[in-house]
């Protein structure tokens, strides 16, 4: 059980890191839209983020209400991000 929670936490930590990188690159690209290197990094991280979110949602439930919920309304089940003990 503990290793499962650790795996979920590790996956979420990777998602947060990638989401941070994508967001920070987006701000940079807003004022440097012609920087090809930054653009490549953005695409690369955005693809990784998308794949990782798909994997996470399959195993641990939805990260957004736009995710299909095939096992009932899972959206309300896990702790929320602002709560102590949230992932």
């Amino acid at each position: 059980m503990d290793t499962e929670i650790n795996r979920q936490k590790m996956l979420m930590s990777q998602i947060r890191s990638l989401a941070f990188a994508v967001n920070d690159l987006a701000l940079y690209l807003d004022t440097h839209p012609c920087d090809q290197n930054a653009l490549r990094c953005h695409t690369d991280y955005a693809e990784q983020l998308h794949d990782l979110k798909m994997l996470y949602q399959k195993e641990y439930g939805p990260l957004s209400i736009y995710a299909p919920m095939e096992n009932g309304w899972e959206w309300i089940e896990s702790p929320w991000p602002w709560e102590r003990g949230g992932v």
């Binding site: 989401a19 941070f20 967001n23 701000l27 940079y28 807003d30 004022t31 990260l63 991000p81 102590r84």
Partner: protein
């Protein structure tokens, strides 16, 4: 529109409640240089921006500020959740508890409620972006004061350091957007008389 991602931008996991820290941190929720003011300032100013870069940066930084609002709210919530009424009273939150219980209300550290009087929308891109540069510096300075006040809890300081760092990045991006607007305004204009 906006959609909700079910995770914080940076994790907040506070082990022990400490209402005294919540009492000061709440200023970055609803105070004059807080995240609510920041998000409303940028998301309202964006309608008056003249070029691609400034519209985009106000939209995207305004959105990130909403994520920071959530992080600061999480700090205040976790620092008060599980505290006793007695502990709230001892931390100087007796008056707060009277009006808001253990809820998270947008107010400044000194107790006055959030007001949009702390932000400006001038409808003038140079004036607005210059205000945004100052706003980021004021928020940075506030986080530094909070770090000084919260030294007892390294988990709190870690989150505050992250938020402080983002103010520095936003300041940089607003400076670039302002340069872009000023370059555009300085361009020579040619008018052709068709006669």
């Amino acid at each position: 529109m906006w959609s909700y991602d079910r995770h914080l931008q940076y994790p907040v996991n506070i082990k022990t409640p400490n209402p005294a820290l919540a009492k000061v941190i709440i200023s970055q929720y609803g105070g004059p240089d807080g995240e609510l003011a920041a998000s409303l300032r940028y998301l309202s100013q964006r309608f008056g921006m003249p070029d691609k870069k400034s519209k985009a940066i106000l939209n995207d930084i305004g959105t990130e500020e909403l994520a920071h609002l959530e992080m600061v709210g999480s700090l205040v919530h976790q620092l008060t959740d599980g505290a006793s009424v007695e502990e709230m009273k001892k931390a100087g939150l007796g008056a707060y508890y009277t009006d808001h219980g253990f809820g998270v209300y947008p107010q400044a550290a000194a107790g006055f409620p959030f007001t949009s009087a702390v932000l400006a929308v001038k409808g003038d891109p140079v004036a607005d972006l210059t205000e945004d540069l100052a706003a980021e510096q004021k928020a940075r300075a506030t986080y530094e004061k909070l770090i000084n006040l919260c030294k007892d809890d390294p988990d709190v300081v870690d989150v505050l350091r992250y938020l402080r760092e983002r103010e520095v990045v936003h300041f940089q991006r607003f400076g670039e957007a302002l340069n872009g607007v000023q370059d555009k305004l300085a361009q020579k204009r040619f008018y052709i008389d068709k006669k």
